[in-house]
Symmetry: C3
Subunit: 161 residues, 3 copies
């Protein structure tokens, strides 16, 4: 038994996967939350020199977006989402007269947010080389809140050596 | 028993990647096929406690989508795809009078399906911690069929320890 | 010399992550650059038999797209991008009278390109089994240039054994 535990401990020293959880309180219905610094710090803390980090949301009305952090551009992208998938369109997901599945006591009118998420990503993978995220100078990693304000969670796994 | 456990530990140390293939028969032209249970089972079978699973389609007229499995919402998303990328628009990919590349004997009129796939993902990565998929309570993993019914294949790789 | 090569080989056996950088000169404002052969060659060179390759752009006005390489289809997808996110719309990102953030001497009018990237992916993950990319016969990996012509970089990490 003692020896088995020792083997496990040695394995753990070599453990190439590290998992972190980010808790995020969003403030707006539609909001870009910049996670770049937090993720860069986790990569540094993990000690991984070569590998990748997988950033994954735990929610169906958010997305992981990599783009430039320029406030006017973020406003442009919000207008684009509203133009292509308007909040005020009819979504059957919000019709509680006919809906019978996944109903909660505090059900939100958020069909538009789910539909916007269809064209976004639940996860992005960013590469790591020489201990650094392989991102260009304008790239920033965002959680895009589509149905806030809410408490959100993002899962981060760092794999490599 | 003691020795069996030790052997398992050694195997796991040497085998960080496990590959599985899912065969899926779709039934509709446009259909969300929920793969969540099958992928959760593969993760359990792999023995990986910390790492990630990469779910990747082998097709150009499908997408991997993570969203809520609520039937009215799935219908909303189908209507949205039809509104933004209508099936009846003109796509040169379908014009066999001028097309000369990648032609097959049973060529399908599926330009709209390829174009819808442009805004979807060929792969999503879901994180694993403590042997469990790090998904929120409403998140489900779908193969989104855009040009069915057809026989489809999804590749699943599980990496970690 | 012989011994040096041997040491490198041993390192590679123990190194599950390999990083490569692709330099790409794009020629058009909107262009699909097929990276499939280059990535398949890197996977072969890495010696990884089972795992995955993460293909990640370093730019905010490009995307990584997996779709069919049929010229008429690529033209269809370009027209779709122009229809849904027109180049000639007003984007505040391009209004240098009010913008104050991330300004460069050679600032380009590229709000439309950033907005198109919102619906694309910065990364895709392709699985590897038995030393081969697990892609279907029509799948090709593209860098989609949205604001060219420009010099671009794509980061490639191969993980596994």
């Amino acid at each position: 038994m003692q020896e088995a535990i020792l083997v496990m401990e040695m394995d753990r020293t070599n453990l190439p996967a590290t998992h972190y959880s980010l808790d995020i309180q969003t403030d707006e219905p539609l909001e870009f939350v910049d996670l770049t610094e937090r993720i860069a710090e986790l990569v540094m803390r993990s000690g991984v020199r070569d590998g990748l980090v997988s950033i994954q949301t735990r929610h169906t009305t958010t997305g992981i977006v990599i783009n430039e952090h320029e406030p006017l551009l973020l406003a442009d992208m919000k207008r684009l989402l509203e133009r292509l998938v308007p909040e005020q369109d009819q979504y059957q997901h919000d019709n509680l007269d006919i809906r019978t599945v996944n109903l909660t006591p505090d059900e939100r009118r958020n069909g538009y947010a789910h539909c916007r998420a269809l064209f976004l990503r639940a996860s992005e993978t960013v590469n790591i080389a020489d201990g650094r995220l392989q991102m260009g100078c304008w790239q920033r990693i965002f959680l895009l809140e589509l149905d806030g304000p809410r408490q959100r969670g993002v899962s981060v796994v760092i794999l490599g050596q």
